[in-house]
């Protein structure tokens, strides 16, 4: 029989306001095994933990139950406290009487009753607990960063600077990401390229960083400290070692009609291309869909003009398998499709553009060489209307429920830059709210209004109507004046909502990292562990976790790097001891368990078994506890019950069921 101590936490008033804590203590004091029960204000505090330690020692407790917040919050805390007091940490069970009880129930009688039942279930379980000892697993001292934008680059640089090998996998032909497409950056208006390209060069030159561009993650297996990843290097059709980056092939390529991804489809590029002049690596790829050689078999001009002989039409996708200790996701974002927003005439008029497209228009290296002009006729616009919150803050499925966070600031930036360069141009911004929480952000926005005379109108635009003369009629509302406004414009810029890169879902599935309904990766704790995925060894960098601007992205990238470094710095990891274990006397050796094991952790051995005096050779399941992650799929597949999960055994779960239903 265990000697169980029960510790009921008030959590200030979080629990005590709706659960009669004293009553819980009283109700469970006579439960089987319970030899000690007490309550305290804050069990997780040092004093609370000291109480637990004292009781463990004085009452020779063999198991404890803490009735408190979610085990996801403080299970680790109480396990450590128990361990310090000499109790095996796996002899601790938590009854979640906060998140699952006091916070959701209002009636004190009802909540107290439920808290008692939850406590009883935990007591019943702990009575069946056995001390468990974690195993050890090794840590591969190498990190993988998925995505080569500013988030990925920064994370990789920080990890590499700490002395660890890092691989960056980037799906496009060059690193740089969205930031490379931007013209200037708020709130200081530095040129984006001027601050990004040095980082790109630094990453490429770093001896610890290895960059796979035009590559994708194909498969991920393993677990924290020991992931095995297949990286698909898509056929570039250009030998990276031979290419000198002279650019002649791109110049001579006769197929120049492909829409340029880098310019958001506003301009064209050749079939063999580097996305932009500062691309890293400066090695082109052949876009086989647009290449005449690949389409018709004829042409081959690039191969002829390439002095280095780098063109290789026969190149195939290559799979590289590499081991990593930590994986950082930095997959970034894209703007949403505007198919559902006909009212803004985006698909009807070339002069209605997204803000990201405007970046390419304003950029000196962009399609118009930085001249602000209408894409329909090349004329200089006189009146520009900006529309905020296009697809953000939507309750319906046309857009996204969240605020995209960056639009208020970049719109102020755009408005300011236009007014600065073209003082004759009238700029109007339709907004719902201007959100500028950030250092020097509101000052920046106010400058747009006060110094640059940008006309901010509180109210949305209902419709943009292309006019026969090529201009645009914007029908909006001024809520402060309570007037409907009809405004003639030459150009309309939509602050289009951003969404996580669509490929992130696939990657999250491979990593078994959880993802929310908006496809943002979920963090381990919204406040306290914002750069870690709940899946151990997976870290989050940049917009894949939630909308953020460049300074925030860089900060988070550094934080993710630190977390990854913290992991890589360890030589060994303690493994979760809650693994499956086969009872060889009961095992049929039928292989059902091995069939469902996602980790290949179960193998079979033929060995001599002594079954109550009968010695015979039997085929029995053996679990590799370093590989087993403790899901329990095998336990249910096993008809004889030979396979059980330590820490969540059949009898433990049944005892909880009984306690709840009694």
């Amino acid at each position: 029989m265990q000697r169980v101590g029960v510790f009921v936490c008030h959590c200030g008033s979080n629990i005590a306001a709706t659960v009669d804590v004293k009553r819980v203590v009283e109700a469970i004091s006579n439960e089987p095994g319970v030899v000690h029960a007490e309550d305290y204000q804050y069990m997780c505090s040092e004093a609370g933990q000291a109480l637990i330690a004292k009781a463990i020692k004085e009452k020779a407790l063999t198991g404890i139950v803490v009735c408190s917040c979610s085990p996801r919050m403080h299970e680790a805390t109480f396990r450590k406290a128990a361990e310090r007091a000499g109790l095996n940490p796996y002899m601790v069970e938590i009854a979640n009487i906060r998140e699952h009880c006091s916070w959701i129930h209002k009636d004190i009688v009802e909540a107290t009753e439920k808290a008692v039942i939850l406590a009883r279930a935990a007591i019943a379980k702990v009575n069946l607990n056995t001390p468990l000892k974690p195993g050890e697993s090794r840590v591969t001292k190498r990190a993988l960063v998925i995505g080569g934008g500013i988030a990925g680059i920064q994370t990789a640089l920080d990890i590499a600077d700490a002395g660890y090998e890092v691989d960056i996998v980037e799906k496009t032909p060059s690193i740089g990401g969205r930031m490379s497409q931007l013209d200037k950056t708020f709130p200081t208006l530095d040129c984006s390229a001027c601050i990004l390209t040095p980082k790109m060069v630094e990453a490429a030159a770093h001896e610890k960083i290895n960059i796979y561009t035009y590559s994708e993650v194909d498969k991920v297996s393993g677990f924290v400290g020991d992931f095995t990843v297949d990286i698909r290097k898509k056929a570039r059709s250009v030998d990276m070692d031979k290419c000198t980056g002279c650019g002649v092939c791109q110049e001579k390529c006769p197929s120049k009609k492909a829409p340029s991804e880098f310019n958001r489809g506003l301009g064209t590029r050749s079939a063999i291309y580097t996305p932009f002049a500062q691309a890293i690596p400066n090695v082109p790829v052949i876009d086989r869909e647009n290449c005449i050689k690949f389409k018709t078999g004829k042409c081959g001009i690039c191969a002829k003009v390439c002095q280095a002989g780098a063109i290789d039409y026969e190149q195939k996708d290559e799979i590289i398998t590499e081991k990593y200790g930590a994986i950082v996701v930095a997959t970034g974002f894209d703007t949403i499709k505007l198919d559902n927003y006909d009212e803004y005439a985006y698909s009807q008029s070339k002069d209605v553009i997204t803000s990201l497209e405007l970046e390419r228009v304003m950029n000196a290296a962009g399609t118009t060489k930085g001249h602000l002009e209408r894409l329909s006729d090349g004329k200089a616009p006189k009146d520009i209307v900006f529309i905020q919150c296009v697809g953000s803050r939507c309750a319906d499925d046309r857009g996204k429920s969240y605020c995209s966070k960056i639009c208020c600031m970049y719109t102020a930036k755009h408005a300011m830059l236009i007014r600065d360069k073209y003082p004759d141009v009238n700029v109007t911004v339709f907004y719902i709210d201007v959100r500028t929480p950030g250092k020097n952000f509101d000052e920046f926005y106010r400058r747009a209004v006060e110094q640059y005379g940008v006309n901010y109108i509180k109210g949305q635009v209902g419709k943009v109507i292309p006019q026969p003369d090529g201009s645009l009629l914007v029908q909006g509302v001024d809520l402060l004046d309570n007037k409907q406004i009809l405004k003639q414009a030459d150009m309309v810029v939509l602050a289009t909502a951003i969404e996580p890169d669509p490929d992130v879902r696939k990657i999250a599935t491979m990593l078994t990292a959880s993802i929310d309904t908006n496809n943002f990766l979920t963090e381990a704790h919204a406040k306290l562990r914002p750069v870690e995925s709940p899946t151990a060894g997976i870290f989050l960098s940049g917009v894949c976790q939630g909308p953020k601007d460049i300074p925030e992205t860089v900060a988070q990238a550094g934080a993710a790097a630190v977390k990854a470094i913290g992991l890589l710095a360890k030589d060994k990891l303690l493994t979760n001891p809650c693994t499956a274990k086969a009872d060889e006397l009961l095992c049929n050796g039928c292989s059902a368990c091995a069939n469902v094991c996602p980790y290949g952790a179960i193998s079979y051995e033929v060995k001599e078994v002594n079954d109550h005096g009968i010695r015979e050779q039997r085929r029995v399941a053996v679990v590799n506890s370093a590989l087993c992650q403790g899901c329990g799929a095998c336990t249910v597949t096993c008809p004889s019950g030979a396979m059980d999960l330590q820490g969540f055994s059949n009898l433990q779960i049944i005892s909880e069921v009984d306690a709840i239903c009694q």
């Binding site: 998140e99 959701i104 959880s514 309904t517 899901c631 249910v636 069921v657 009984d658």
Partner: protein, 145 residues
């Protein structure tokens, strides 16, 4: 008035540690209420839920059993919920086949971010069980108080 005599069902919710238990935590921290009749048992994965646990719950007097796991494709262990899905589908079908009201069992995929869904699901499920009344067909009468 009738609150005193209202049928208080016993409901067991098996929640996977990674998604649904966290979803329940989020429902809690967002103060999204659902009836106290629901008691959660934490399991590592929905695939840990043995049909014997479910029958055991009914035997001991549960009026409803709900299993919550990560959305298919999002399982922390990659594939656990796919196995759970087949197992539970077949088990529920069998219970239906022998005449147990099919509303007494349910599987719902609730992610860690779906506190609202968790609370809604539990409210719905409790309503359903209340409308079905006490579980008389599957219980062990000796276990009833």
């Amino acid at each position: 008035m009738s609150v005193e005599n209202q049928f208080k069902p016993k409901i067991v919710a098996f929640c996977c540690n990674w998604c649904s238990y966290a979803g329940a935590d989020l429902a809690g921290s967002s103060r999204l209420t659902y009836p106290a009749d629901v008691k959660i048992i934490r399991v590592p994965c929905s695939c840990r839920v043995n049909p014997m646990f479910i029958l055991r719950a009914f035997e001991k007097g549960a009026d409803g059993v709900i299993i919550c796991g990560c959305h298919p494709g999002d399982c922390h262990y990659s594939t656990g919920n796919y196995y759970a899905r087949r197992r539970m589908t077949l088990l529920f079908s069998m219970l239906d086949y022998i005449g147990i009201e099919n509303g007494r069992t349910r599987v719902e995929w609730v992610s860690a971010a779906e506190g609202v869904k968790f609370s809604q699901t539990m409210n719905e499920f409790v309503d359903k069980i209340r409308s079905l009344g006490e579980n008389v067909r599957l219980g062990d009468l000796r276990c009833k108080k």
